[in-house]
């Protein structure tokens, strides 16, 4: 029945405290099949009826954009994947998706590009067949390519009325000097405006990364693994393995704190972000998991700084930490929007004090236990449809090509101690690792 698995999952949560070995945060009986060409298929049978979710995860994102002037290319390429293929001329893709009643789209991040669709389950084969064609036989003319470049510029334009987009851009280029995390996934405006001149490069990008060894297909729904595998074999077996590996420059150690400031031309509340270099994703080493917990404890809605700055003093309208799981060492960043310009330095210093505090004290055991419980409940309760399940595991599929890594991560979290968290904070929240970026309104041609 539809709810049995969810029930088992949540039941597991409750006995967690005592049986550390057996509980799995991802409770579904999934299967993994590898084709000889390197393509991986993950099938997650569920009892949610009618619909099936199909997520195709390509292990290439803006991290893979190693050449100068090519920022934003992975995301641009995501757009090109909707422009037609050998056997599905432009417009046909939409017709097939429409026939399936699909909600279909894609997204790109630093480390991955994910094509996702949720649709009537009887249409799975038709959609896999079409996907196989675009992943193996993509086809677009130079004119179509240039037209799509205009749509990407439109996407850039819509995002750039929000100052957070600029804040993120400057924070990255300040914190990173050689690694490709120095640019955002959307890319620099100058590079985006140059896209129309890069038709030949687009095929190079396709030939490098749109290869079976970079790709995992995830299917979630009321399906049988054998049926899905047969379809995938039928349509994807001829896909040729590639031979390219991107050489991502490693980032040298930071040797002193860095700062930057942005003058914003339209009225806005000041923004401040304080970040530190932090570790890459790991399901075996404790440091990243420890900082993930700390991000909630130190800067979440229930944290002391939130209570002080948002609720009591009311000097900011929000403060929050962001630290996603990344393939390479990333940034642990705290963001805040300040209500008055004169409080910016104070808020920055409060954030700095909070970071320092957790390098010195041990988190109470009760808080740690509650945070672990919160993470597990949060993960479990979010998986409330086929689409939500696929969406929840797509980042893990990208990192390790298996949902099992989520289980391993949560086991690791279960074993963290307050000392582990303090030690991770001590190791990473050092002055030399620090980047502070602020943004405030400055009328063009002088003024405020």
């Amino acid at each position: 029945m539809k709810f049995v698995i969810l029930f088992l999952l949540l039941f597991h949560l409750l006995v967690l405290g005592t049986t550390a070995q057996s509980r799995k945060v991802f409770p579904y009986n999934y299967t993994i099949d590898d084709l000889p060409n390197g393509l991986r298929l993950v099938v997650v049978p569920t009892d949610y009826p009618n619909l099936v979710a199909l997520y195709t995860v390509v292990q290439a994102g803006s991290r893979n954009e190693v050449e100068k002037g090519k920022s934003g290319y992975a995301h641009f390429f995501e757009h090109l994947m909707f422009r037609g293929s050998e056997n599905y001329p432009p417009g046909m893709f939409d017709k097939v998706m429409q026939k399936a009643g699909a909600s279909s789209n894609a997204y790109t991040s630093d480390d991955r590009t994910v094509y996702h669709a949720t649709f009537a389950k009887e249409d799975l084969e038709a959609i896999l067949k079409m996907d196989a064609d675009r992943f193996q036989h993509l086809k677009y003319t130079e004119d179509q390519f240039k037209t799509e470049a205009g749509a990407v510029l439109g996407e850039y334009n819509k995002n750039f009325s929000n100052p957070f987009t600029k804040l993120e851009e400057v924070m990255r280029e300040t914190a990173y000097k050689t690694h490709t995390y120095s640019h955002t996934t959307l890319g620099y405006e100058a590079d985006i405006r140059d896209f129309p001149n890069q038709y030949a490069y687009s095929w190079e990008f396709y030939n490098r990364f749109y290869r079976p060894e970079y790709t995992t297909i995830v299917v979630v729904g009321q399906v049988k693994q054998a049926d899905v595998l047969a379809m995938v074999k039928k349509y994807f077996s001829d896909w040729k393995r590639g031979d390219y590996t991107a050489r991502i420059p490693s980032e040298p150690a930071q040797d002193k704190p860095r700062t930057a400031h942005i003058d914003w031309a339209s009225p806005t509340l000041p923004l401040v972000t304080v970040s530190y270099r932090s570790p890459a994703y790991s399901d075996t080493k404790k440091d990243k998991a420890a900082l993930d917990l700390l991000s909630i404890i130190a800067f979440g809605e229930n944290s002391d700084i939130y209570q002080k700055l948002v609720l009591e003093e009311q000097k900011v309208d929000f403060v929050a930490a962001g630290s996603e799981d990344h393939v390479d060492p990333e940034l642990f960043a705290v963001y805040s929007r300040v209500k008055k310009q004169e409080d910016v330095d104070y808020v920055r210093d409060e954030i700095l004090k909070t970071y320092k505090h957790y390098t010195e004290v041990l988190i109470p055991q009760k808080k740690l236990d509650e945070t672990r419980m919160r993470l597990r409940y949060g993960f479990a309760m979010a998986m409330n449809s086929n689409d939500a399940i696929a969406s929840a595991i797509a980042p893990y599929i990208n990192l390790r090509r298996t949902p099992e890594t989520a289980n391993k991560l949560f086991d690791l979290i279960e074993n963290l101690t307050p000392a582990d968290i303090r030690d991770a904070a001590r190791q990473y929240f050092t002055e030399n690792n620090q980047t502070i970026v602020t943004l405030s309104y400055k009328k063009q041609g002088g003024g405020e």
């Binding site: 998706m97 009643g101 240039k146 799509e148 749509a151 806005t268 009311q314 919160r374 309760m381």
Partner: protein, 501 residues
């Protein structure tokens, strides 16, 4: 272009506002939408049939602020921080969504935490603290939302909300649900208390609950809400907005790099209208939200590369840039037909507007082809399952069906679509979309420049990075000179700081 008949038709809808209040004198059963199931997740949707239409004049934003203080403020016994602390290990929350005619509190919890969770909800609902510190913080949040987030950080939502303000000028829907800057500045905690006392009543509440709850819980839940004041049953009739004939263009001026465009007009139909399935099909064909299969998207984005997307709506859909499916519980008596052209490069703004109007006029003139009708009908018949794929959204749609007085949404839509004919759809297009007074909002930096381009009616050719097909180039020749029937006096410029004031 726009005929006098249309003007007269619009006037027919101009009825005075109507709200009849009947005191609830004796205990009557509370309105409920209970959907018991085996799910260990319990979903709550506690709805009050009150919203910004009940904001007293000069106190716009009061309904939304009241709901915010209940869901993001302390109680008589606990500070807000203590509430957050209690929700923390359960990984849950209790949030509020206020719209014109309804306010809905939404929460989900695991059944094993149900007692603990509901104890908090009950305290928040029945013993709100109305604390000064919460009031101050949440009123400031509302002000910053209008002054910073909407006016200056999101041109698309700014354009859409401004469009609603203009179409509903002088109407109970006029103000943004969050309020106005000038009214929020004057609100007091006493206003909030009074609003709560008057509108959070047995007469206005609708209790939505789904999941594996026990009969005992259900009885206790009902008994709690029977302690609310009786209140008055309000039979509302929200009139259609008044409008004068002709196109109106408002250019919102702000420091920005691109031009956002939203346009629309009162629809004259909502979900309970027999023509709703036909109109939903038209919107889906012409501009299905975030879908590349729709007509307008194909013309403006895919074939011309002018922007990121182009969509059409027959129901209110806020925050469309952040989500693929609309949130339930934004049901309204009055809806507009809306076209959303995502930001374009400023030099293409005039052309993009002409293209949108050209395609819209073509839709009204030609209707759908049999092939397009069938493809869209088949799509929607399956797509309705996506709208209700989670337990909470299913419950939300059930509450909306109750509001509109119709059956289960999915069942209704599938049956109605199966019966629908091409003739029904094309008749609905003529009836609801034909010759309507269009209101257009554009957000851009050089407002005066754009205004003079539009009022001069001069040709607006477009330069492409890459030549599109000959068919598109031929069409461009028509579009670049397509007449926008607007009087110069009806093209206004509004500095952004005056919007939502």
């Amino acid at each position: 272009m726009k005929s006098a008949t249309a003007f007269i038709l619009t006037l027919i809808f101009l009825l005075p506002a109507f709200a009849m209040e009947t005191p609830l004198e004796k205990q009557t059963p509370l309105a409920t939408v209970f959907k018991p199931s085996r799910s260990p997740l319990i979903s709550f949707r506690i709805q009050f049939l009150t919203g910004s239409v009940d904001d007293p004049k000069g106190k716009e934003g009061l309904a939304a602020l009241t709901a915010a203080i209940i869901s993001q403020g302390g109680t008589k016994h606990k500070s807000y921080d203590e509430i957050v602390e209690a929700f923390y290990p359960m990984a849950t929350s209790f949030s509020a969504q206020t719209d014109k005619e309804m306010t809905t509190f939404v929460g989900n919890t695991h059944v094993d935490n149900l007692d603990k969770y509901y104890a908090l909800v009950r305290e928040m609902m029945f013993e709100p603290g109305f604390r000064d510190e919460d009031f101050k913080r949440l009123r400031e949040d509302a002000l910053n939302y209008l002054k910073t987030t909407l006016r200056n950080n999101n041109d698309e939502e700014l354009g859409k909300e401004r469009l609603y303000n203009l179409i509903y000028a002088g109407h109970p829907y006029e103000s943004n649900t969050t309020g106005r800057v000038s009214s929020l500045e004057k609100l007091t905690i006493a206003d909030v208390r009074a609003f709560y006392a008057k509108h959070y009543t047995q007469a206005s509440v609708v209790l939505g609950l789904s999941g594996n709850f026990t009969p005992k819980f259900e009885a206790a839940f009902l008994a709690d809400f029977q302690k609310l004041p009786m209140g008055k049953k309000i039979a509302r009739r929200i009139p259609a907005p008044s409008s004068t004939p002709g196109t109106k263009i408002d250019i919102v001026e702000r420091e920005t790099g691109s031009t956002a465009i939203s346009l629309g007009f009162p629809l004259g139909a909502n979900r309970k209208s027999p023509d709703y399935p036909a109109l939903a099909l038209v919107a889906s064909y012409f501009g299905q939200h975030r879908s590349s299969s729709s007509y307008l998207y194909g013309k403006i984005r895919e074939k011309r590369g002018l922007n990121y997307g182009d969509y059409a709506y027959v129901e209110y859909f806020p925050s469309g840039m952040y989500q693929f499916e609309p949130d339930p519980n934004l049901a309204r008596s009055q809806q507009i037909f809306q076209i959303w052209i995502r930001p374009v490069e400023p030099q293409n703004a005039h052309f993009a507007l002409r293209a949108a109007l050209f395609e819209f006029d073509k839709l009204v003139r030609d209707g759908l082809s049999k092939q397009d009708f069938e493809a869209t009908r088949d799509f929607l018949s399956k797509y309705v399952n996506i709208l209700t794929q989670t337990q909470s959204s299913e419950l939300g749609y059930a509450l909306d069906s109750r509001y509109y007085g119709m059956g289960d949404y999915n069942t209704y839509m599938k049956a109605a679509l199966a019966k629908l004919t091409l003739a029904d759809v094309n008749r609905a297009i003529k009836k609801y979309l034909g010759s309507k007074p269009m209101t257009i909002v554009m957000v851009t930096k050089d407002a005066e420049g754009l205004r003079s381009e539009i009022t001069s009616g001069k040709t607006s050719p477009i330069k492409y990075q890459a030549a599109p097909s000959q068919e598109i180039l031929d069409e461009d020749k028509i579009i670049q000179d397509y007449k926008i029937n607007v009087k110069p006096a009806d093209v206004t410029i509004t500095p952004v700081e005056r919007v939502f004031q």
